[in-house]
Homo-oligomer: 199 residues x 2
């Protein structure tokens, strides 16, 4: 009976197609790379992938969700959990992010962001998914260091967090300075000076 019970949990009818889903994601990535975020639409993805619009709408609510998944799959979300010591942990976190953006995928995300309307659904979703979650992880690392007596209680943690993470986004979008290996240690050191007790 257990086998019958196992079987009874199987859905009847035609199963959703993972193949169709992958084809849509690949087409979306192709459009993002070849033409840019502004050219990504459900119609364009359907035309390029051969996947019907109703099927695309079964997997994603709109073009922004699809774009997000097409770009973000496999991309680190900026979590903490680095080495001991606040400065080293912050430097490691930022290094992970800058390395991620240095990949082909990361550069494409950056390009997509640069061409997108800053108030678009996609840009807001990206900030939430990567930058704000990185920022929250940083807040937790700083709070843990203060609780351990490694630093004093920060006077204005919001400003410090912005000083750490805003340059990431700024360099990403403006492209005037590189997101290189030196950024992590520099930002971490700057944060430590900001967090040192004032004299």
């Amino acid at each position: 009976m257990s086998q019958a019970q196992d079987r009874s949990s199987a859905r009847r009818g035609r199963p959703p197609s993972q193949k169709a889903r992958q084809k849509a994601l690949e087409a979306a990535r192709g459009i993002l790379m070849d033409e840019g975020l502004g050219r990504l639409s459900i119609e364009a993805v359907a035309a390029r992938s051969g996947v019907g619009k109703p099927t695309i709408y079964r997997h994603w609510a709109n073009a922004s969700e699809l774009a997000m998944e097409a770009l973000m799959a496999g991309f680190p979300a900026g979590s903490g959990g680095g080495p001991a010591g606040l400065e080293a942990a912050l430097a490691a976190q930022i290094a992970t992010l800058t390395q991620a953006f240095a990949t082909t995928r990361g550069r494409q995300i950056a390009m997509a962001l640069a061409t997108a309307d800053p108030e678009s659904e996609f840009t807001r979703a990206f900030r939430n998914r990567v930058l704000l979650s990185s920022r929250e992880a940083g807040r937790e690392m700083i709070a843990a260091a203060a609780a351990a007596g490694e630093i004093g209680a920060p006077e204005d943690i919001e400003v410090v967090l912005d000083m750490i993470y805003a340059p990431l986004l700024y360099r990403l979008l403006a492209g005037h300075q590189p997101l290189d290996a030196g950024l992590g240690p520099a930002l971490a050191a700057g944060a430590m000076r900001c967090l040192a007790p004032s004299r």
Copy 2:
């Protein structure tokens, strides 16, 4: 001032385009002739004519209205106003209709009707526009003849009207017998026998 007043009745902004309207109608006629009523759609007309769908929807509420106008423009509506004498007037009216259906346009309409769902918007609209209005014109001719003393008051005018006009539609749709010149006099003579006082 009257000129200014005349001018004030002119609409501001871009005038609706009669050219666009004619292009849509021509494309609709082309589709009806080449492919049949079932293939006429707003998308197909837009694609064939180059007229945008929003523009088509400004002129017609749906594909059925467009089809009706594409087919019916210039087609007689089955009005009365024929010669004196009921039998001659009825024969003339039916002759006008059968001649209209004998034209290329008329045959196309017939073909369009034959392939259409009998309950479709289009078929119902056709019945309203041509057959029912013909039937009402017939009713008026019969009522006028009765008022003039040419015939007695009909006992069951609805049956008589059906006997006159139903064969038109039946021959049109079934195609088993021709809509020829003999039909008008035959139906008119039959009507007169039906309208003669019973003995």
